[in-house]
């Protein structure tokens, strides 16, 4: 019987095989399932490994990386030892990138929204669509907005990017809104006016500095790879570090002196330093003589800014102010470092003046573009996008912008824009209605008063978002364009953050893209074609642009793509500049540019905009965990294991007086919103301050690890109307990110 059964099986199987022999049944069904192709049959499979040159794009540092790949999987990232930026090391954000690369939560395909309702807690009802449909839908909606409301009704929310800039200009909209008013425009304004005639530099020669000062400078906490290395070397070389900060930041913890200055009063301290240095003739006479303009104004300017005057304002003893000023002037080299969102960042109404005062102080001690100080960028010539990709003329466009950026006397020359005022423009149609937006790499949580910005975005008819994660901004999108992660892309980086000598880094894909993604330049070109603007991008591609950048530097993509180090540029000895791009050709202590534009040529004292009150008795501080990158890293397993939640950080004694214990839930409330957090108590913060770390409070359920954790610090930051920003009359047009008081109470 058994044999009969067996023979029955064999007959059936043989019959089947005979049937199937002529071709694959599965394939013949036409179901479109995964197919296999021939590979060399291997009974013993040896591991295949390779090392691919790339550079990090988590922050703008661009550290060179050697990516180790085994059997098609990235297993390790190593700092490129030949790279002046990385010097063989990376920061935790780079090391953790592999987790983001292989995160299954990443966006995989283009999608469109089916639920017209938008907002927190609303399911977009996304469905997968083809790239063709995604471009068509976006083009149709953009065209509709243009036809009904003019090209200015489209907003580009993104950092500057050559392809996007061209599309925006081809459309004819002036509305390019970027985040810099919340980040560093105060410093850009002062550097532009006083030193560079352009942007601000970021090359900090900390390791050769012997007296490092900072007003809220948190080089270690902000965790730029090269800054961490430089500061630790400087300290190992017996540099003294003095940090003024109401909160004991990572850098403050490593400082020789941590001074808990009253928030928003750093300008007074800096002005008193100028007073001491000038009145006691402690300045670097030859540097001042040769490199600066306007010294003769300083004595009168600073006469009343005595340490005693500053002590009343800053709550720092006058003798300490005087001592530190003398130490700063006589320890060589000395420098006051600033980086984006420190006290000279656009945190207070007086931040731009502080940035001006810092330039003056650094010039007085002779360390602008000198070893031990802040160095201007050395870079290769940059090709002209228009020369590489000739184009037709752009259409005329309106000057007025939805964020009133064109009204900024100095900052309007920079392609930045104002996160603080754009909600007012959209909601109140000032100066005209806006109807559509293209967003790239900006999350909703990054805007001041994010909930108001959410309302503004709801007012738009159509939003297209380019992203790698289903962030809050992606949840507001009508169309989502998924981008690859940087480890999957090609590119060239100039590395503005560390270029003592010009050096480009090149990357090729470490692995092929894992999902159906497109690079941003390709998205722009295809969108342009869909909008019948393809003639602005004849022969244009990201690859050709990469090659043009390399050709301008003396090499080519073909030479560099297989280069053993992925780096182009030989070390050159550093020579400090002897002239600067200002009207006088010198560092302008008295700024003629500020004066011409209707601003104070010298940074006279100005208090912050809002002081604490009886109802709102706390100063609000924001910092961020060193291992996180803004709102982008909270879905990364490794990073979240290192720092998984934000808190309301309070002084332990003050909290005890208020009956708040460690871990208690508290509300932190400003005049525009309140957030709930657990209290974290420490002696390392002023009694009248509360500090909340940025990056948390995600509500997108698409971020499976980040959703629902902590609270969004930015919810508390009041946005501004166009009129309020204008009335501020701040050359840096800063968003006053900390210039408002809050109250704290138990939940």
């Amino acid at each position: 019987m058994q044999s009969t059964k067996k023979s029955t099986f064999e007959m059936d199987r043989r019959t089947f095989l005979k049937t199937a022999a002529g071709g694959s049944l599965a394939a013949g069904l036409g179901l479109g399932i995964p197919r296999f192709v021939h590979a060399e049959q291997q009974s013993v499979i040896e591991p295949q490994s390779k090392v691919v040159n790339t550079f990090c794009s988590v922050c703008g540092g661009g550290c060179g990386i050697r990516a180790h790949v085994v059997d098609g999987r990235v297993v390790h990232l190593e700092g490129n030892p030949d790279d002046q930026a990385a010097e063989g090391r990376l920061c935790v954000k780079a090391y953790s990138s592999i987790k983001t690369l292989y995160d299954p939560d990443r966006l995989k395909y283009p999608m469109k929204r089916t639920n017209p309702q938008k907002g927190e807690g609303v399911d977009p009802g996304f469905i997968q669509i083809s790239w063709e449909e995604a471009f068509q839908l976006t083009a149709e909606n953009f065209q509709k907005a243009i036809d009904e409301h003019g090209p200015e009704s489209i907003i580009f929310f993104m950092r500057g990017q050559d392809f996007a800039n061209r599309l925006r200009n081809a459309i004819g909209t002036p509305n390019h809104v970027a985040h810099q008013s919340t980040c560093f425009t105060s410093q850009v304004a002062s550097w532009f006016a006083q030193v560079t005639g352009g942007g601000r530099p970021y090359v900090y020669d900390l390791e050769n500095c012997k007296y490092i000062m900072g007003f809220g400078f948190d080089g270690l906490g902000k965790s730029k790879n090269m800054h961490i290395r430089s500061i630790t070397r400087a300290l190992a070389n017996n540099a003294k570090m003095v940090i003024l900060d109401p909160y004991m930041s990572v850098t403050a913890r490593k400082a020789h002196e941590w001074i808990q200055i009253k928030p928003g009063t750093d300008l007074a301290f800096a002005l008193a330093m100028i007073h001491v240095i000038v009145s006691e003739n402690l300045f670097d006479a030859s540097y001042v003589e040769d490199m600066t303009f306007g010294f003769e104004y300083l004595a009168d300017f600073a006469r009343d800014y005595t340490p005693e005057w500053a002590a009343e304002i800053t709550e720092v003893p006058a003798e300490d102010i005087r001592r530190i000023a003398r130490e700063f002037a006589t320890t060589k080299p000395a420098h006051i470092f600033t980086h984006k969102r420190d006290a000279a960042g656009p945190n207070y109404a007086n931040s731009t003046r502080l940035a001006q005062a810092i330039v003056i102080l650094n010039a007085l001690v002779g360390t602008i573009d000198r070893e031990g100080g802040l160095l201007l960028k050395r870079s290769f010539p940059t090709p002209s996008f228009d020369e590489v990709f000739p184009r037709p003329d752009f259409p005329e466009r309106r000057k007025e912008r939805i964020d009133a950026w064109e009204q900024r006397e100095i900052m309007s020359r920079f392609t930045n824009g104002d996160f603080a005022t754009v909600a007012d423009g959209i909601l109140n149609e000032k100066p005209y209605p806006t109807k559509a937006a293209l967003v790239r790499k900006y999350n909703l949580l990054a805007f001041p008063e994010a909930k108001r910005m959410e309302e503004a975005l709801k007012k738009l008819d159509f939003i297209a978002v380019c992203e790698i994660y289903p962030s809050e901004m992606a949840m507001m999108a009508d169309v989502v364009f998924p981008e690859p992660y940087w480890l999957e892309t090609s590119g060239v980086s100039e590395r503005d953050f560390f270029s003592r000598y010009p050096q480009l880094a090149v990357r090729t894909p470490v692995i092929e893209p894992q999902y159906d993604t497109k690079g941003f330049s390709a998205i722009i070109v295809e969108l342009a074609k869909a909008m019948n603007l393809g003639h602005y991008f004849e022969e244009a591609s990201g690859g050709k642009w990469n090659n043009a950048i390399l050709e301008a530097a003396g090499t080519t993509w073909d030479d560099m793509k297989d280069h053993p180090t992925g780096l182009w540029g030989d070390e050159k000895p550093f020579e400090g500049k002897t002239s600067f791009n200002t009207p006088s050709g010198k560092i302008e202590l008295f700024s003629t540019v500020m004066e011409e534009n209707g601003f104070d040529p010298l940074p006279h004292w100005r208090p912050r905009r809002e002081e604490p009150t009886a109802d709102y008795p706390f100063h609000y501080l924001i910092n961020r965990p060193p291992m996180h990158k803004m709102t982008e890293s909270q879905n990364n397993r490794l990073i979240m294991a290192l720092y998984g939640e934000n808190h309301a950080i309070l002084n332990d004694r003050r909290a005890a007086e208020m009956g708040i214990r460690e871990g208690d839930e508290v509300y932190v409330e400003s005049r525009v919103a309140k957030i709930k957090l657990k209290a974290k108590l420490t002696a390392g913060i002023r009694h009248d301050c509360v500090c909340v770390f940025h990056g948390f409070g995600h509500w997108s359920q698409g971020l499976s690890r980040a959703a629902g954790i902590g609270a969004n610090d930015g919810d508390l930051i009041p946005s501004m109307t166009h009129e309020e920003m204008k009335a501020l009359h701040d050359p840096g047009a800063g968003a006053c990110m900390l210039d408002f008081p809050v109250k704290v109470y138990r939940a």
């Binding site: 021939h38 009974s43 997968q128």
Partner: protein
Amino acid sequence: MVMVMNVNYQDRVVQYALHARFFYDQLLAKDWPVLQNTFEAMTPTCRQAHQVIRTEIEKALSDKAAEEKLRVEYAHLFLLPEGVKMYASVHQSSEPLLRQKAWQQVTKRYKTHGLKLEPDEYHPEDHASVELSFMAHLIEQGESYEAQLDFLQKHVLIWLPGVLQKLCTHPKAEIYRLVSERTLHFLKEEEQLLMQLMNME
């Protein structure tokens, strides 16, 4: 007493291919003719077992609004994080990430059979649709029952049933709940069948 086994190899291949297809990509109205032919390619018994799924999918793909609803369901379950992850690596590694050891192992397994995934394929080698497709391939190529069972037990059954269980109770799953229940049942049947076939050789 030996049980009478009714083995239809075509049914097995068709079911692996069909279930691979369900998890491979969303279903659109234009897919219905091919799906219909696929159901018709089954024996009556097998077709009967799929009748509920067939009816529901046909309804969903016959109407634009219903098609969109099915596409939304697919996106929730398979494209967005609140759904399930159809990759072996995510479930078999210490970290729920793609392209971990399980992916390397199944990729190597394909190579031992002289195969690799088509280069344009977006899904990695350890995606459910790929592993199910490979099972269809093993059957079609006349690989031994031992080889089939070995792949089924060492790859597919290690992780996919758990994911299918989650799909069966996922709040967003309606038609895909029916699909998952059927796939679970099919895989259990397959394991039992192959074990019996091996015992009878």
